[in-house]
């Protein structure tokens, strides 16, 4: 069965909108070992998964969903001292403090068929990856970094409703 779009992206309980593109990357560290008999074995090491999405709508409300660690609500202060007066709040991109816990959620990419198939990147944190301004539209790239526990999968595939209980 072909898994096809349009795709719905969910990070935790938030459905992400206005995504121009998504690029998922999965890397496995490996090393080659040669025997004296002339054979080469490739031994797998650790797994690393990430996804970069390009957001067409990059207003504060959209970024607040994806970068909660950088969100500053109305009435609070930016790192540079100004007070936020907009109801939408503001995004204040600054490096995390060393004792700050990252905010992680599963990133689910759901296909359109019935039942939908889900590609899950387990326990992702987010960070801003880049900004593209092409003269007409400002696009923001957000990187999701899989941060799964050592004994958990980095990535999962399953039919929507096909696992229980779903987190």
């Amino acid at each position: 069965m072909i898994i096809k779009g349009p795709f719905t992206l969910k990070w935790g309980s938030n459905t992400l909108q206005d995504i121009e593109s998504i690029d998922v990357s999965h890397e496995i560290d490996s090393a080659d070992f040669q025997t004296l008999q002339g054979k080469t074995y490739e031994i797998d090491g650790s797994y690393k998964v990430s996804a970069i999405i390009t957001l067409l709508a990059s207003d504060v409300a959209a970024l607040a969903v994806l970068l909660p660690q950088h969100f500053v609500a109305m009435g609070e202060q930016l790192s540079t001292g100004e007070e936020v007066t907009s109801e939408d709040g503001a995004i204040d991109i600054k490096a995390a403090a060393c004792d700050e816990e990252p905010i992680t959620n599963n990133l689910d990419i759901l296909s359109c068929a019935n039942p939908a198939n889900t590609l899950r990147i387990v326990d992702c944190r987010t960070r801003i990856e880049g900004i593209e301004i092409d003269g007409k539209v400002q696009k923001v790239q957000i990187k999701f970094l899989g941060d799964a526990a050592a004994d958990e999968a980095t990535m999962q595939f399953f039919a929507d409703g096909g696992i229980s209980p779903e987190s």
Partner: protein
């Protein structure tokens, strides 16, 4: 079921006419109402072929709509274009659909002999076939 009929069924289920009443295939019968839609097969091409033999194919269908009320023609064809180009997940009975897309947007085809405005929209159906 041929793909044109499958698409006509899709149009009917989305409120764009009733088959053999005001929605037809291949042309419009003499006794059709002034307000009528018809779908004509317009060719296509093979898009890709797997090493295992399955194919992705594009089918082109032209959707025509006529009415005395020209604004209705513009409105209805734009509604159809927006439906087809929305983020919906469409399926056609009997076919594995990769994508349904309006690829030529509503085009005014001028008036017919009875002063009815005729409009046309071209649809590309991308199908996966074993």
């Amino acid at each position: 079921m041929n793909i044109t009929k499958a698409f006509v069924d899709f149009m009917q289920s989305n409120g764009f006419g009733t088959f053999n009443s005001d929605l037809f295939i291949g042309g419009v019968p003499q006794d059709a109402p002034n307000r009528a839609l018809w779908v004509i097969s317009a060719g296509g091409n093979s898009k890709s072929k797997n090493d295992a033999g399955e194919k992705q194919k594009n089918y082109l269908l032209n959707v025509y709509f006529r009415n005395i009320d020209g604004q209705d023609v513009y409105d209805t064809l734009q509604d159809l274009e927006e439906l087809l180009n929305s983020a919906n997940c469409f399926e056609l009975e009997g076919y594995e659909v990769i994508e349904i897309e309006a690829t030529i947007f509503p085009t005014d085809q001028d008036l017919d002999m009875q002063e009815r405005t005729i409009g046309m929209l071209q649809v590309t159906l991308t199908i996966y076939k074993d």
